[in-house]
Symmetry: C3
Subunit: 375 residues, 3 copies
């Protein structure tokens, strides 16, 4: 684990491990064949968190590409095809050296661009001795990868900024969850705030009917979907009262922003009547959630999340409590979403009946479909 | 578990649990596609036992239909497609209420007919908001389900009676076993009494040669196959002597009746010469076995069994001993049948060589083939 | 386990068990269909070691044929199709008797030729009541099986001799490993001595660069590939010094012989300058390795290995140490080879780049391809 270097304090929940079997389920690859495009590729996707990538390479399949991620002692991070071009051993079985990553079978050494720069016992290095590399960038403790819709294509933008990871007024923690479900089921879940009452009744939920009946608005601007829902003068849920000394009823808000490769969820509350509804950041309890939802394969997903909060002076363990309860809450979602996905296999081709709360998720699905078609 | 309300005393062997993974292997469904008919559908099949269905819904795939079974607090039992029509979550992940079953994702409520009667936060309920239901009946502590060969078809008969579960002279117990094998391999096994000597040598078996040489008769009347075998003047097996004080050799009998969806097996013994061979119910030790053999999928099976006995006054633990030994015996069969099925995959298309004891099983297979073709 | 009867002392590493699930993955069979030939069949392949085959039959799939191996109390060993011709139960679920093997379901008895010689309860034995048998021979404590390229074809040679298992100057031990990888990946590994420095750095490896730079020669005569590599005046690895009292640097040699169905690997060392490079058997430390590499299926492999050594008088535990360290070393190879195979699925159709050390493996692959085409 790398110690965060900037303002915010990071509290990792757990040692993040790659699920060993996941990647082996997958077959296609970008370099020598043209797989069907099932994700919008011309954008930055979350590949991991900075603190995951220490001295040891990580094997991680991202958007159907089995990659090895590593941090060079010279500085910088790299993502290569996870395969030595000699005998196919995953490079992630090898070791990181000053100049790159060395295969654990016969010692071929690759630099960060994927070029083989040493074959032990042999002078000449064939021109074909190289593997694909992918742009990998580190910003605000998030690792972002770019696949692009053309082999070898380069990004035309910087990765998104996410300032709360480096804001000294906030503390945060997070984790990576592996889902046996396609990524858009997680979008659906995050853009629909009403399930909170049923799925999370014991944690952040509270009264189910209150959630289902709360009015919400959906706005779409430039491929960004924003779902907002004020819940004025309501009882705060358990998670809230456990980390902030509210006096009684609260003015609570929820705001979800969908950015295709990731979502930002801002929730929080002030004592009822105490705040300005239009600028709730001025006081009260805030949760800033980052949600990187990156397809591993067509049917499995990496879910990278953090929650940041402004701890109350009297509640020094606020972020610890919040991260623990968030982890439990997200596990409740995971159980539901994976059960939903398994059930879609048991009932193939059955039509879904839409209800009122599907407005946000359906807008997001239309954006993804349009972007994927254009890629 | 529900306490049995009628005459016989039920002694359940174990908490019956659904094998979590089994149902997800299955794909087809009756409502929106026409699967190949691989079972005779126009009849009652066993869906479970009454004591399995308490406050919590049960997920159970029956004849390729993934169903949720639940008991309504208002009375009555119901079987629905195990899928909310909104976002596909299994209804078995939800909870039972006074008026029906509520989905655990967004709270849609369904009544026993599969009609959605509440969508939280929304006034209008679309006409399409409903799921398939299946007739489910409870009789003699057995749950019977009807699929029918037409969507929405209704049964034209009552489910079979099975009086021994409600006969005060008998005590019984049983269990549900899950088989990784198609259901007809279990028919073969139950209709062939000669394997007892090899597979069950340590429990109900006794001398193998005696079993293989015992004469038996096969009769077929109205799609019922009856295999009977008297074994007069033979040594009683261990199971028998452990629950009944026989004086020495016994007149033993075995009678198997195949009823397509279930089999009835009547075995027992009297002291040799003491009884009337034509009416052995007058005295001695009796076992009345109920065997519901219900396909889960084309290649997996639910096996619902009970054994009832008339306990000897001096052997108050007779039914406990009998149920435990039966459970062991049926596990011996399960090992053999699952190994047989796996091996049929390793030797696909190899012809079987029939022997004398196949007469009963082969008659049953012909009946199933004819009924399935007619469906 | 059978006690070895001849000169050398055998020290088995572990109770050798068949991996239960492996065989069930497999489908085709020789008797009633013509599978594509993917291995050269007209030769002896290793089926096991003598000490594996005691009173209990062994289920083992060899070259895509699911077989039961058993040792007759009358003497001799036999290999049959692992399937009773009546109801398909594996014969390996049955028991060995004086006259053959008896099925555990209805008691059919088969002799060593696969002919059914008893059907309990029935006089007549149909002519079709038989299963395929395969020539199985025992020589130097190795069990060899012959499939042949014609159904029922008989071998035209004796199985290979392997005298070190019966040489009183040597002691040996070994094991059977199961690989989730096709057999030729193990050939590649054994014929390439340079991976030793990377994969086995902690055991038999030593300095990686030294291994990659050591000159080697490759010779091919009559479908035998021989790779030899002298390593004069080098530091002995840990395994060597732990079992032989070398004075300092050593003259070390490695000689690998590929015989299609098995490989012989002769390695060892003398004190530097002490020996005659042309006849190193005169003194020093010797390891004679036997490596039976038998396809289980197209994609899985049985790896039967022994190591024999001439123990130094002062190191009475030499063979024990050697076998333990060899077991560890071969497990290191297994990890690499299985990872390599899984990765070939993740990157299908990617071309490999050859390097200098591939000369030996590539010659072996050409021989296998030619032999398979001729079969």
């Amino acid at each position: 684990m790398t110690t965060p270097t900037s303002g915010a304090t990071v509290i990792p929940v757990a040692t993040l491990r790659e699920s060993a079997g996941a990647a082996s389920k997958f077959g296609n690859s970008p370099a020598q064949s043209s797989p069907a495009v099932t994700f919008p590729l011309n954008r930055w996707w979350v590949a991991g968190f900075s603190w995951e990538l220490g001295d040891t390479p990580i094997a991680r399949t991202l958007l159907n590409r089995p990659m090895v991620l590593f941090r060079s002692p010279e500085g910088g991070v790299a993502a290569l095809d996870d395969r030595c071009c000699h005998k196919d051993l995953p490079l992630s079985c090898g070791s990181v050296e000053q100049r790159g990553i060395r295969c654990g079978y016969h010692g071929l050494l690759y630099d960060k661009s994927g070029t083989c720069i040493e074959i032990p016992g042999q002078e000449r290095i064939p021109a074909k001795a190289r593997v694909n590399s992918y742009p990998l960038r580190e910003r605000n403790q998030i690792l972002w990868v770019w696949i692009g819709n053309q082999p070898g294509g380069q990004p035309d933008t910087d990765p998104p900024e996410y300032a709360f990871h480096d804001d000294p007024r906030f503390q945060f923690g997070g984790d990576r969850y592996h889902y046996e479900a396609p990524y858009q089921l997680i979008h659906d879940n995050l853009l629909d705030l009403s399930h909170v009452g049923y799925v999370h009744q014991k944690t952040i939920g509270g009264n189910p009917t209150q959630h289902m009946n709360a009015p919400f608005s959906v706005n779409v601007v430039d491929n960004i979907v924003r779902v907002t829902r004020p819940m004025p003068n309501t009882a705060p849920p358990l998670t809230y009262t456990s980390v902030w000394p509210f006096k009684g009823l609260v003015d609570r808000w929820q705001e979800v922003e969908f950015h295709v490769s990731h979502l930002l969820i801002w929730t929080g509350a002030t004592d009822a009547g105490a705040g300005n509804a239009d600028s709730p950041e001025l006081n009260g309890f805030h949760i800033r959630g980052f949600h990187g939802v990156t397809p591993e394969t067509d049917t499995t997903t990496h879910y990278f999340w953090t929650v940041a909060t402004n701890p109350h002076p009297e509640r020094t363990d606020a972020v610890k409590v919040l991260v623990e309860q968030t982890a439990s809450t997200f596990n409740e979602d995971k159980v539901v979403i994976e059960a939903q996905w398994r059930n879609q296999h048991r009932f193939p081709g059955y039509a879904q009946v839409d209800i009122h709360i599907d407005a946000g998720p359906n807008r997001a699905r239309r954006i993804v479909a349009a972007l994927t078609a254009n890629d």
